[in-house]
């Protein structure tokens, strides 16, 4: 296959997914509202004092991000599986990993990117000191692609099972632990005034590695699921 047709198929998958999601905007909004609500529950639960909130802010935002990624993960492949589009994708001459990558990109655009935009509001609600805001946003920028890519692996593995929800969290949450540790570690570093860039760079590296390898795992998982 030549690269022109690969690129064309990549764009066609992206365009279709974007159009479908644009028809169901609540799918984008609901996970974001979920994050906002989780974030606003914490001050109610642990008290609104700035010391404690500021210290746990990054952790809370990241845990909320993980949970919302799981929440929205079903839509990645479920409808495509049910209406037969997924099966048609596996039959295209283009590499399936490439088409899977297109779906991951769309998922990130509609769930990761809004999260990055929403981050300052969450930071404000949780009274995260201003000096840590850039680091928080930076970790979200480089970390959310990992969320989308790894979520796609889990979603593809469980798409044929019909009752993916709890199982999906069982599979995916352990894999997110390094992401959680480095991201909240980076914010903490900038809170105590040490350099946060080593962790952010590390996350960036992990992100690249994940984006490189995950599409192949997603493709393999799709082939198992449509069987």
């Amino acid at each position: 296959m030549n690269s022109a047709s690969n690129w064309q198929a990549f764009r066609a998958v992206m365009r279709r997914d974007l159009m479908v999601v644009m028809r169901r905007r609540s799918d984008i909004l609901n996970p974001l509202l979920f994050i906002l609500m989780v974030v606003s529950l914490f001050p109610l639960a642990v008290g609104p004092g700035p010391d404690i909130l500021g210290r746990i802010a990054a952790g809370v935002i990241w845990v909320a991000a993980l949970l919302s990624a799981l929440l929205g993960s079903e839509r990645l492949f479920r409808d495509d599986f049910l209406d037969g589009s997924l099966e048609q994708l596996t039959l295209l001459p283009q590499p399936l990993a490439l088409l899977a990558a297109a779906k991951v990109v769309v998922h990130w655009l509609l769930s990761g990117l809004p999260l990055v935009i929403l981050a300052p509001l969450c930071a404000l609600l949780l009274k995260l000191p201003l000096q840590a805001w850039p680091t928080l946003v930076a970790t979200l920028v480089v970390g959310t692609p990992i969320l989308s890519a790894v979520t796609a692996i889990g979603a593809a593995l469980t798409v044929s099972l019909g009752r993916g929800g709890a199982l999906l969290s069982l599979l995916l949450l352990p894999l997110f632990i390094p992401l959680l540790i480095f991201a909240s570690g980076a914010v903490e570093a900038s809170l105590v005034g040490t350099a946060a860039w080593p962790q952010v760079l590390l996350l960036g590296g992990l992100s690249l590695l994940t984006l490189l390898l995950a599409p192949f795992a997603v493709a393999a998982a799709i082939r198992v699921s449509v069987n």
Partner: protein, 210 residues
């Protein structure tokens, strides 16, 4: 170069039951292969195995066995069109959008979506989300692929499902054009064909009742 597909000694077992064993056939240009069998006999399994969606226990499937060059996986995928049970139509998108996006995914640029919709009798419904259309109308959207596909071999699982008599008639006309132009078709169907292909093979799968 007239043989499109050679299948040798396919064996399929599911849950310890043999669906079919030692299944072999050849398909030439212009052939229509009608696969018959009761529900659960393994017709869909066979079709899905032909395009690699299902792996069988044993057997050999070769596309273009006479071509000198080894045909790699991506090569034959361009030459085969498979339509399964599920139409692959997005419920959120309109008929028109579905048709254009399908064509783009198939790598076909120059189609006339309006004309295609007119051909399959969906004109006037092009702006409705496909989810609001009937099963037969969704099926017609999926079937528009048959009017621009370049693939010589069509593998169709129950293509007449949910179609009315007009739809079935239309589809069979298209089949006739395709085989006349040197294409071949493998299909499953519960209804007998009302059209008489010039070269019809029948294959009956018994589904383990050896």
């Amino acid at each position: 170069m007239s043989t499109l597909l050679t299948v040798k000694q396919l064996v399929s077992q599911r849950a310890g039951r043999t669906l079919f064993a030692d299944l072999s056939f050849d398909l030439q240009r212009g052939d229509v292969l009608h696969i018959e069998g009761v529900n659960g006999a393994g017709k869909s399994t066979l079709l899905r195995a032909l395009v690699g969606l299902v792996q069988l226990q044993a057997g050999d499937i070769r596309y273009f066995p006479e071509s000198a060059l080894p045909t790699d996986a991506n090569d034959w995928r361009q030459q085969v069109l498979f339509l399964g049970h599920k139409p692959g139509v997005k419920a959120e998108l309109t008929a028109l959008e579905n048709v254009s996006l399908q064509a783009q995914l198939s790598g076909v640029e120059s189609i006339e979506p309006w004309q295609l919709l007119a051909t399959v009798g969906l004109l006037g419904l092009e702006d409705l989300p496909a989810g609001q259309l009937s099963a037969g109308q969704q099926r017609r959207i999926a079937l528009t692929r048959l009017w621009y596909s370049q693939a010589p071999l069509w593998i169709l699982d129950e293509p007449f499902t949910a179609l009315d008599t007009d739809g079935i008639e239309l589809l069979q006309q298209r089949f006739a054009e395709h085989t006349a132009a040197g294409g071949a078709i493998i299909l499953t169907s519960h209804q007998p064909l009302t059209w008489q292909p010039t070269r019809l093979q029948r294959l009956r799968i018994t589904g383990g009742d050896e």
